[in-house]
């Protein structure tokens, strides 16, 4: 099997990212495949990008702008209060 090399783009392992570990993938030219030397993830570029999109779902407000006024207004919000589960805001 061919030597693994850093690909043209230095992708991190998406599976390791999910457990908050930055670990560079290597690229196997013969198999046209990226693979991780830490965990057992392997896949192509499309699979990496798809998992990165999933990773970003932890940031529902990733593209939301919270200004000074809006953050200050949070001081006045009643918030959630109870020992029963509250629905996640959409």
């Amino acid at each position: 099997m061919a030597q693994g090399r850093t690909g043209k783009i230095n992708y991190r392992c998406p599976q390791c990212l999910f457990r908050t570990i930055d670990y560079d993938l290597l690229y196997d030219r013969d198999a046209d495949q990226y693979y991780c030397r830490r965990c057992n993830w392997e896949g192509d570029e499309m699979a990496i990008l798809a998992l990165y999109r999933v990773y970003k779902q932890q940031y529902p407000d990733m593209l939301k702008r919270w200004t000074v006024v809006e953050i200050l207004a949070k001081d006045e919000e009643p918030g959630t209060t109870g020992n029963t589960p509250n629905p996640r805001p959409s």
Partner: protein, 611 residues
């Protein structure tokens, strides 16, 4: 006061860690190669140009390597002359041919050097600085500087006024993030500017006699909620760190603006003052890109970020200073033991989550509002633990200030079937049912007054079979006394005649990381109202003791020279201790009392140094 102050720091690093990976591995032919040096200085120039284009004055931190580069020295002089930039110093970026020939080491982390090499480097670089510029620097820095080194620098170079002295909450979480290879184990310090103690740089100084003589600032200004359960290196005033956390789309990173705006909000909790430090090393803006991110976006993110500060400056909302100017301002306007406070809100995870941080000379405390306002992290600064770090010291790489509660490293409110995790919370009991208030999400309000800061947790509803109870919690921090008055008040009962029991408790331990440390030698005591004590030495034997109408309960954790005590303030309380066992390696003390409608349990929780 209405002051939001910005420091922007750039360093002409001639061998950034992330550009010259081969050289890091010791390949001499690549080491400090012309291409790398050229690119590094180009990035430095680019960063400087971006700042100056936005009217931002910078602090240039000269590295050891750059102090031997005529080009870098001339650049610094020119920037100083043209823009008024401060020429300062840093212990980052030591690696170069000269360093290896002189010191024979590939060590990049100056704070981890053996002591003899630390002091040698201080002298070498400060004297070389004077040779190059004709004066000694008044600002310096590293990822971390322990108190021993700060004291030494102040003794030999008393003109130093300020240092980048730590990297906020870079500890086990960042270590893990970096595949257990980035040895910045520095948890436990303040998140904004402080005057460090002579005994321990993480801790805020007690008074003038304890003043280490500098103002310390953290390496970056971080998201105080993001760092709680994530590596801080994805959530700071460092656009490329945000990119690292993938919290961006194309070239849009609104979170970086949210961070700046939230730091402006921090003025509300700090008597009108807030502070940001921006310190992006050149390795984060290399032409080859960084991980998945191309150079174009790395560069644009920095341009956009500094453009926003430029806009705030034009609007009169931020004051840009050099580091030394900021040190002078801080000394003129803030006390040596100035408390710092933050009621921080989520602006990225899409929740209403909030957290509250408080620190003064006696402790640093983190409160998680989504845990009903439970205390989830306590660092006992009152102990002023001497913890020199680096080769030859007991701590070596572990430069963190120890905790006595850490709800994430040590379980907190959730354990797997056995034992209890470390947390300071309260339980409510009614007819055999029990609910921990950490199961009740809430948010907070802030108040302040003469000598105190107060967090009021909005009332939560606890649901029992046949009874609903509304409980309001408040924390009153008595500044620089080591005490917190904790009040639990019944503000609603569906049966106004009912009584519920409140159990105010702390489950504590000690350490700097996830693994348990030995508790043998700790003591637990119930102190009766006649002054007699029922006490045990900790031996993992699961012993318990309780008594009615106690004067106080206390625990001593000698490994961190810390005594914690809970004292009832309103009416008689039952007090208890629980020893724990090896599968539940914690110690617990608590106070209990029955309450009816509009009654409250007030306890004083204190932290002091134990001999």
């Amino acid at each position: 006061m209405d002051k939001f102050i910005l420091n922007v720091v750039h360093r002409p690093e001639l061998m950034p860690e992330y550009i010259n990976a081969d050289a890091q591995a010791g390949k001499a032919e690549e080491f400090g190669g012309k291409k790398v040096v050229g690119e590094s200085l180009d990035i430095f120039r680019l960063q400087q140009d971006i700042a100056h284009a936005n009217g931002i004055k910078c602090t240039i931190q000269m590295t050891y390597a750059s102090l031997y580069s005529d080009e870098a020295i001339q650049l610094a002089k020119d920037y100083h002359k043209q823009y008024g930039d401060e020429i300062g110093h840093t212990f980052l970026g030591v690696q170069c041919d000269r360093f290896r020939a002189t010191y024979g080491s590939r060590e990049l982390a100056m704070w981890l050097f053996p002591w003899d090499l630390k002091v040698r480097l201080v002298h070498d670089s400060f004297e070389r600085f004077k040779e190059a510029f004709g004066f000694y620097p008044t600002s310096t820095g590293s990822y971390f500087l322990d108190a021993e080194l700060i004291n030494y620098i102040k003794e030999k170079y008393p003109g130093v006024k300020i240092a980048v002295a730590a990297c906020f909450e870079e500890g086990p979480k960042v270590f893990r993030h970096t595949n257990n290879t980035w040895y910045t184990l520095l948890d436990g310090g303040p998140w904004t500017a402080w005057v460090p103690s002579k005994a321990c740089s993480h801790a805020i100084a007690e008074n003038a006699a304890d003043d280490a003589g500098i103002v310390a600032v953290p390496h970056l200004s971080r998201d105080l909620l993001g760092v709680m359960d994530n590596p801080g290196d994805m959530f700071g005033t460092h656009p490329q760190n945000i990119i690292r956390g993938l919290a961006y789309e194309d070239d849009r990173l609104p979170f970086m603006y949210n961070l700046v705006d939230q730091y402006q909000v921090m003025k509300r909790y700090n008597k009108g003052f807030s502070y940001n430090l921006v310190y992006v090393g050149p390795g984060w803006m290399g032409k080859a890109g960084r991980w998945e991110c191309p150079y174009r976006i790395l560069k644009k993110s920095y341009e956009d970020f500094l453009a926003y500060y430029g806009q705030l400056k034009r609007e009169g909302k931020v004051t840009v200073m050099t580091m030394t100017e900021f040190a002078d301002w801080y000394r003129a306007n803030k006390a040596v033991n100035e408390p710092i406070c933050a009621l921080w809100k989520d602006t990225i995870f899409g929740t209403k989550n909030q957290c509250f941080w408080y620190a003064d000379s006696r402790f640093r405390v983190q409160i998680d509002l989504k845990l009903g306002g439970a205390i989830t992290d306590i660092r006992p600064y009152a102990s002023k633990l001497k913890r020199p770090c680096g080769a030859g010291t007991p701590a070596n790489q572990d430069a963190s200030y120890p905790f006595i509660v850490h709800a994430r490293y040590r379980g907190g409110p959730f354990t797997h079937y056995a034992g209890e995790g470390a947390i300071k919370s309260a339980k409510v009991r009614f007819h055999g049912e029990e609910v921990d208030l950490s199961a009740c999400r809430s948010t907070g309000r802030y108040e302040e007054g003469d000598g105190y800061r107060k967090l009021i947790v909005r009332p939560v509803t606890v649901e029992f079979r046949g009874l609903e109870v509304r409980i309001e919690t408040s924390y009153t921090f008595r500044e620089n006394t080591g005490t917190i008055d904790i009040a639990r008040k019944i503000v609603g009962l569906t049966d106004p005649t009912a009584k519920v029991e409140i159990d105010e408790f702390i489950t504590a331990c000690w350490g700097t990381r996830e693994y348990p440390e030995d508790l043998t030698g700790c003591t637990l005591a119930v102190i009766h109202d006649d002054g007699t004590r029922h006490a045990i030495d900790y031996a993992y034997r699961c012993r318990e003791h309780s008594a009615e109408a106690v004067a106080a309960v206390e625990a001593v954790i000698p490994m961190v020279h810390t005594r914690i005590r809970m004292t009832p303030q309103t009416g008689p309380c039952k007090g208890y201790y629980e020893e724990g066992y090896s599968f539940a390696p914690n110690l617990k003390i608590g106070l209990c009392r029955e309450l009816g409608l509009n009654e409250e349990l007030v306890t004083t929780f204190s932290i002091e140094r134990a001999a």
